[in-house]
Symmetry: C2
Subunit: 296 residues, 2 copies
């Protein structure tokens, strides 16, 4: 049970956590703060939060758990605002999509890693943002990765894990570096391809005509290109090295494909397509790629 | 009304046409032929077809419309099998994803373009194949592109257009070159990116771990990588030039993105992501990207 939950950032991620914990009857009061007043008023009207706080320090007052769900670029400023305002027992956790940069921010602000900081990342989301997009089932059957450090208090870790389990999620522990590499490959790289594809088509002169004939596959494929641009800029900057590495690897693959097409090398193309189909079918069949489709 | 419809290839595309025409009460007898006997038996059991023909020539006998829905690589052999077996009034149409190569095949086999050949392409499909994947609603609210040539009989064109409209589709006319360029950009290129992405991840040593954390966005993004490898090999070979051109354009875009990430150029990244999101949101909102999601 969380008696008082402080949400720093009340958007899709923070709002859905609030709704899920309420649905599971695992939370008392929920206090929210954020940059956009209209969004907070909406959160209050939707009963996602019980009270609006003026800043992170006020939100954290008397909270047993502070959940930071802001864009990566805002993380350091939130930590600065929280410094000196966290109770001795208050647990601090976050939803940042890159863990290395969050930990760097924490170290820079707090001087060392606070034992009650539990870095986390729910692998869930849709291309929509803001509290209106939040829903209680977002985390059901989804994975949440926690990346505890040697400094992390095991009791704090356990409480954060229990919080996510109460929302229907499966919790996995991972090292920071492993998390950032896995996410670069499975999330950050696909987003780059979707953004890049839509942008390259949008810049073609005949783009009106072109989008007109884009069918269902294109719609699915490019859904993630409707994601929040500022959030994705921050992710790219925060995860530069692992993302650059997978982008490099993909560029080699794409050059190989393009070369096979130019050379009309049907055997090579069949080999690539067959291996890709087998991998996707195998992992989907084994339930490795889970969860409902993101909303549209 | 089509008194006798000959289906050369009874898979997702041919089978769904049969089911849609039956549902609309626009077809008499449906005769099917294809390479895989088991699939044809299944089509008969599912009442997608009324009778199995041994070869295209037998199927075409007495048919008022012959619909060829086979992989592009099999198109020429089907035309060869049909030569000399089409009635004077028989209309010949197809569902090939590349129109230039189909017309080249027709010209090579028939010596010139038969006036009753109406090249066509329904912009519909799922990543599944075979008659079991067929359903009557596949073409509802989808676009079908017809690419008539100067030789094409207007009456034949009209009958094929009416057939697709009876299935709930919207028919557009386009030049062959325009079709092949638009499809390279909106369908063939996205498939290359999805196949390439899944293959490049599958080749990483930690691929088991990696796919385990792939979430909803990845599932949507890579759905098209579960498509039929042979079909896609054929499409790549048949549409080499337009596809190479858009691949080249995309590679430049991706290199720009990768470079912006390496240089930590947040402004440039924000510009690209914002332009892409705006384009996708605009066209989706305007209903330009239509139709239900492809099945999963």
């Amino acid at each position: 049970m969380i008696e008082r939950l402080a949400l720093i950032g009340v958007g899709l991620i923070g709002g859905s956590l609030a709704l899920a914990l309420r649905a599971a009857d695992r939370v008392g009061e929920i206090v929210g703060c954020g940059r956009a007043r209209a969004n907070l008023e909406r959160a209050l009207a939707l009963q996602v939060i019980d009270r609006i706080a003026e800043d992170p320090a006020e939100a954290a007052q008397g909270a047993d758990l502070v959940f930071v769900a802001v864009p990566l670029g805002a993380m350091r400023a939130v930590f600065q605002a929280l410094r000196g305002h966290l109770g001795a027992e208050t647990i601090l956790t976050d939803a940042g999509s890159v863990k290395g940069s969050v930990i760097e921010d924490a170290r820079a602000v707090f001087g060392s890693i606070p034992p009650r900081l539990v870095p986390g990342h729910p692998i869930a989301g849709t291309e929509h943002s803001g509290v209106e997009a939040a829903f209680a089932e977002l985390y059901q059957n989804r994975r949440v990765i926690l990346t505890p450090l040697p400094e992390t208090d095991p009791h704090a870790l356990q409480r954060v894990a229990q919080m996510w389990q109460a929302c229907g999620a499966e919790v996995d522990l991972m090292s920071v570096a492993q998390h950032d590499e896995v996410l670069a490959a499975t999330s950050h790289l696909p987003h780059m391809l979707a953004f890049g594809l839509v942008d390259s088509l949008a810049r073609m002169r005949e783009n009106d005509e072109i989008f007109r004939y884009a069918a269902g596959g294109f719609r699915d494929f490019t859904r993630i290109a409707s994601s929040n641009p500022e959030m994705w800029r921050d992710i790219c900057l925060a995860n530069r090295e692992p993302l650059s590495a997978v982008l490099g690897r993909f560029s080699v693959e794409l050059a190989d494909l393009a070369d096979s097409i130019r050379r009309a090398d049907g055997e090579r193309l069949l080999e690539i397509f067959s291996r890709a189909k087998a991998a996707r079918d195998r992992y989907v069949d084994r339930g490795r790629i889970e969860g409902p489709r993101s909303g549209s």
